[in-house]
């Protein structure tokens, strides 16, 4: 408090010893000032510290007294405290007892081998992570086979619930996103193609890019953001509260109960969402072509049917189940990595989203190469 900023210090040098008289508040608010004023104290002389006029002394003040004592005694001189009350004595004693004794941990400078080791650990960690994901994929397949053989163990209610969460509730955002992408493509395509008088090819541009790539890729990215994080958060919070361990002790299989319905729901819903995205994208493109280029919906339809092979749609939709598996497995895997604290839940959730989106794009690139090679 500002009102505490008053300390009186008198330094009275005498023959062979110095008397320091303090008064007022000797607290954390004044201790820095006091220390500054005491720097002028002569080294080597005995010091008598008189605290009888001190109205308030806190641990910071007591710490200052103790550091002064250490400083004086380090030069071989004597140090005495006068005029203390019993409570001051007990405070000084307890502070003296717990004066910190600095320790340092030995620090070794980083060498080249440390750097190499770190790189090696990083690479090994990455490989282990991918292997782990493959392991979870295998776990999902084996449990799926088990569910086919023993249908009683399969949770149909849970599957329906997750289909609703993953698929039905994602329809508005996916459709809107895809509609806007169609609009953007038509708009951008039109302004470029108009230069060559080839406006009508905007239909091919929209159809091929949406059906082959953008429809399913952007749907997967949205679903990765929405659903992979939801899987991680749901499974992770169960892991955090030891619900997963409780399931195991009750003889329930977490993979069967938690992973199968979620990943299966995604596997069923993502192609449907992709199809909805395709339609919304084409609709948006057709609308914009009509407004911007005067291509009537009938002309758009004719051009679409004549100029766009159905293989484009197939190439797009065949990727959906693969993306679904990637998103589902990454989400469930990250959920199981959550430790017993909230930070790890947040970390794993954002990691799941990043990993899922990245893996989806990598897979899409591999598909492009594959389809180019087989000439589709």
């Amino acid at each position: 408090m500002p009102s505490d900023l008053s300390t009186e210090i008198d330094i009275i040098p005498q023959s062979g010893s110095t008397s320091v008289v303090m008064g007022g508040h000797v607290t954390i608010y004044t201790v820095a000032d006091i220390q500054r004023r005491l720097t002028g104290l002569q080294d080597g002389a005995d010091v008598e510290l008189d605290l009888s006029d001190v109205t308030r002394l806190d641990t910071a003040g007591a710490w200052m007294v103790m550091t002064l004592k250490d400083r004086v005694e380090a030069t071989g001189a004597r140090f005495a405290v006068l005029g203390t009350r019993p409570e001051t004595d007990s405070l000084l004693a307890s502070v003296a007892q717990s004066m910190p004794k600095p320790e340092t941990t030995p620090q070794t400078p980083a060498t080249l081998s440390d750097v190499i080791e770190r790189i090696g650990r990083g690479v090994a960690g990455g490989v282990m992570f991918v292997l782990d994901l493959v392991g979870y994929f295998g776990l999902f397949l084996s449990r799926l086979a088990r569910a086919a053989l023993h249908p009683r163990e399969f949770r149909l209610t849970s599957l329906v619930h997750h289909c609703e969460e993953v698929g039905y509730r994602a329809v508005p955002i996916v459709a809107l996103m895809s509609f806007l992408i169609g609009v953007v493509l038509a708009f951008q395509g039109a302004s470029q193609l108009r230069q060559f008088g080839a406006e009508v090819f905007v239909v091919d541009l929209i159809a091929v890019s949406i059906l082959r790539e953008l429809g399913i890729l952007l749907t997967s990215i949205i679903v990765a953001g929405r659903t992979a994080s939801a899987f991680t958060a749901a499974i992770g919070s169960m892991k955090m509260r030891e619900e997963i361990d409780a399931m195991r002790t009750l003889g329930l299989d977490p993979a069967m109960i938690l992973f199968v319905p979620r990943i299966l729901a995604l596997l069923l819903m993502l192609p449907i969402l992709g199809l909805i995205a395709n339609m919304a994208g084409l609709f948006g493109g057709a609308l914009m072509s009509w407004i911007e280029l005067g291509i009537s919906p009938e002309m758009f339809r004719t051009r679409l049917i004549e100029g766009t092979d159905v293989s484009h749609l197939m190439v797009g939709l065949i990727k959906a189940p693969v993306f679904a598996l990637i998103i589902g497995v990454v989400g469930c895997h990250a959920g199981m990595q959550v430790e017993s604290n909230a930070e790890s839940l947040g970390r794993q959730t954002s990691k799941a989203v990043v990993t899922a989106i990245f893996a989806v794009i990598v897979a899409d690139a591999l598909f492009s190469i594959f389809f180019a090679q087989i000439g589709l």
Binding site: V31, A32, T59, S94, S98, P100, N341
Partner: protein, 269 residues
């Protein structure tokens, strides 16, 4: 309460406090005094609003009605700056320490010190080290992050931060919950030692009968939306109320009492 004759200085006065969440009334007409230098233990069944009371006095919860006077100032009638000045005179230790997870323990303890004008970083660091040492943590714990500490160490670090500015009052929310018996006894000892040597007033919420026996000067029992009774441990043993009777005469209470009597016996020898 019949605490009005020749009272010692009441550092906290709560009068007619009412707290409610929606239609759920937690406190109604609650009165409580906390005297300077004492260790007051607040007990009550689950859901009787012990923590809510602590949060209300510490200013984290706005009551629906009633006055809270701390150091003679009515908290609800104060402006921001006066309020902030009062707040440097108390410290709160939350149940799990509530340390800032992105800072080391030492930096956590230094946080309240940043408000002090003219305090140089070297001194602040040395004082933080002193506080860490006073709550019984090893020196190197200061460099660690909260997630690297055990539950008991986090509580100690939380106490070190609460004590950073040498407050006159500390609020402790379940200081020994989740500690093993040895750790809990050591923490009790720590609170009592600090309270005596620093002249602290301690307001603690607890379920731990050993803590009540070992360190509390006075006990306040919350029940039926108010403070049912306050008094020393001896007073509690004679209260008629069925809940209070069960609480202080149950098998655990008797064991704690016996342990305490054994201890005092040993001390006297």
């Amino acid at each position: 309460m019949s605490m009005t004759q020749t009272p010692p200085e009441a550092i906290i006065q709560v009068r007619g406090l009412r707290n409610q969440f929606g239609t759920h009334v937690v406190h109604d007409g609650l009165d409580l005094d906390v005297y300077r230098g004492e260790i007051l233990g607040v007990v009550g069944g689950s859901g009787t609003g012990k923590s809510v009371l602590l949060r209300t006095i510490a200013g984290l919860q706005t009551p629906a009605e009633g006055t809270i006077t701390v150091f003679g100032n009515d908290l609800r009638k104060m402006d921001q700056t006066a309020r902030a000045r009062i707040e440097t005179r108390w410290g709160v230790m939350f149940q799990d320490g509530a340390l800032f997870s992105s800072l080391t323990v030492r930096e956590n303890v230094e946080v309240p010190m940043q408000a002090i004008p003219g305090l140089d970083p070297t001194t602040a660091r040395a004082l933080a080290d002193l506080k860490i040492s006073m709550v019984g943590l090893p020196y190197l714990a200061g460099d660690k992050y909260p997630s690297e500490l055990s539950g008991g160490m986090r509580k100690r670090a939380g106490l070190a931060r609460a004590l950073a500015l040498d407050p006159e009052i500390v609020f402790l929310d379940e200081p020994t919950a989740g500690l093993d018996p040895i750790g809990a006894a050591a923490f009790d000892e720590l609170i009592r030692g600090l309270s005596r040597s620093l002249g602290l007033t301690v307001f603690l919420v607890t379920h731990d009968l050993d803590t009540l026996h070992a360190i509390c000067d006075r006990i306040a029992v919350l029940s039926d939306r108010r403070v049912l009774v306050t008094g020393t441990m001896q007073d509690m043993l004679t209260v008629d109320d069925p809940w209070v009777h069960d609480y202080f005469h149950g098998p655990r209470a008797r064991a704690a009492l016996a342990a305490q009597e054994n201890n005092t016996g040993k001390d006297e020898i």
